[in-house]
């Protein structure tokens, strides 16, 4: 299997997950709150007389463990659905190799677990 990770703006979480399912039928994701810093300018803050820039903006990290054959489709679906149309901050998506993925409840390999189990 392949691990697909993505950093997206939080408002896009649901849309990205829907897009992945629609495009590839994949169900299964873990979502983590994150803050990120990239090309996008951070926010100008003011607090009690100090004006400063925080480089961090709220993002979410999505982790999908998917079958090898749909990996490209998942990446494409994320890439397209993560795009907000705003000027910046839409984040990244990338893949990583993984060893065996075990499904804790059944103890089997994940790819062997039937969807309805």
């Amino acid at each position: 299997m392949v691990k697909v990770e993505a950093v997206v703006i939080r408002e896009r979480i649901e849309i990205v997950i829907d897009a992945v399912e629609e495009a590839t039928g994949h169900v299964g994701v873990t979502v983590i709150e994150a803050v990120g810093h990239g090309r996008q300018r951070g926010l100008t803050h003011e607090y009690r007389g100090r004006v400063f820039e925080s480089r961090f903006l709220p993002k979410a990290m999505l982790i999908f463990l998917v079958k090898d054959e749909i990996a490209d489709g998942v990446v494409a679906a994320i890439r397209d659905s993560a795009r907000s149309g705003h000027v910046s901050g839409d984040g990244l998506v990338w893949t990583s190799p993984v060893g065996t993925v075990i499904h804790n409840r059944t103890g089997s390999k994940l790819e062997e677990v039937e969807p309805g189990v």
């Binding site: 408002e11 951070g42 803050h45 607090y47 100090r50 400063f52 820039e53 709220p58």
Partner: protein, 482 residues
Amino acid sequence: MSSLVGADVTNGNLLIAASTIWVVITAVLVMFMQAGFAFLEAGLTRMKNAGHIAGKNVLIFAIASLVYWMVGFGIAFGDGNLFVGTAGFFPSVDALTSVGKAPFDWFSEIPGAAGYLFEVVFAGVSLAIVWGSMAERAKLYVYVVFGVIFTLIYSVTSHWIWSPHGWLFKGSLTGGVGMQDFAGSTVVHYQGALAALAGALLLGPRIGKFGTDGRANPIPGHNIPYAVLGTIILWFGWFGFNPGSTLSVDFGGFGYFAYVATTTNIAAAAGGIGGFFTAWIVLKKPDISMMLNGVLAALVAITAASGFVAPWAAVVIGLVSGFIAVVGVIWVESIGIDDPIGAVSVHGMSGIWGTLACGLFAVPQLASNLATGQGGLVYTGSFKQLWVQFLGIAVVGAWTFTTSFVVLWVMKKLWGIRVHEEDEILGLDVSEHGMWGYPEFYIPVPGGYGTGTHSHMLSGAGGGGGASHAAHAPTQEPTIEG
């Protein structure tokens, strides 16, 4: 002691003292309702707007306090004509310290200052209601500008219904039968809801509230305990709101205000139960926020009626209000209006219900004790009082909705009243005020900037002129080493 008792310790002066204690304390309880609104509203909206929403209650109460001192109090309670008070603007030390003298002779057992205090906190509550429906998307300046204007609109209406010169008070069009609105279901709550409705319509719903297919989405608030705290504070404050409206210790009889407090409490309780079970039955889940809305809706309804009705009627008024709150919230949403806190149903519909309930349930004896209107339908079989109540609602509805709508519409055309889309998404805390309401949820380590060379500091008013230190070493300077 007795030798110290001056000749001025007359029964009349003791009556003033007791009445002033009562009115000032109850005014203070009502003032505290701002904390209730702040936490109710902040709790039922999202984390990214929490500081803004809580903080705006301080801002608007400040605005109301000044405007009401300048002109509002005079418009409402200064001597004048049927429609507006024409005296008592910028009241002086004299006007505020004397008792029962023009231009505030209406307050016959308390100094003008106590009158100001009690009435200004009511104006503040009415104004607080307005923003519930406009939450999470209105521009900050709107609070300032519309806050000023609404305070004036409000003052005019309260003259009609509460000033002895007012046409609804006198029943000028209804053969001398005056409108019954003991503590302001109409004056305070319904009016606030009317402006709230105008605002919600002109602003439109929050981004994401209605789906691409037009159906409504839930946008859960971020903190139910806050909403609970807000509601209990409001219930607490309402013991100032209604019982304090006797404006003395003897209106309706000595200690009659205790009776008003009792109907208030019973109705609120019935509203909570009504909301709780309505939600449990209709929505399958006993939604906490709906139970809270039930309590508040009942408090709104009993506000007009608290001095006029029997305990059993308070129970009925409360139960019905709990029902109204729940179905009202759902209905308002179903017609496409986004009202995050439920102000339109809780303060508007339930305010109407409470006002009409006087026409149904007013006990003739109590109406006559209070010298306001007459008994209600169930006691008298007469629709007279109900008609007076209805008239009041219709006229106030027309006046306050129209003026509010027009003013907000003009503001929308001239300067816009809604923040930019990206500001709304980011949240008003950071976009309007420059800082998150909960900074640590967004800035990993607040104050984690202190060890570098401030590349992130864009500017700073003042700066401290210490010398440079070895990089990465925490600095604790200046410490007096005594």
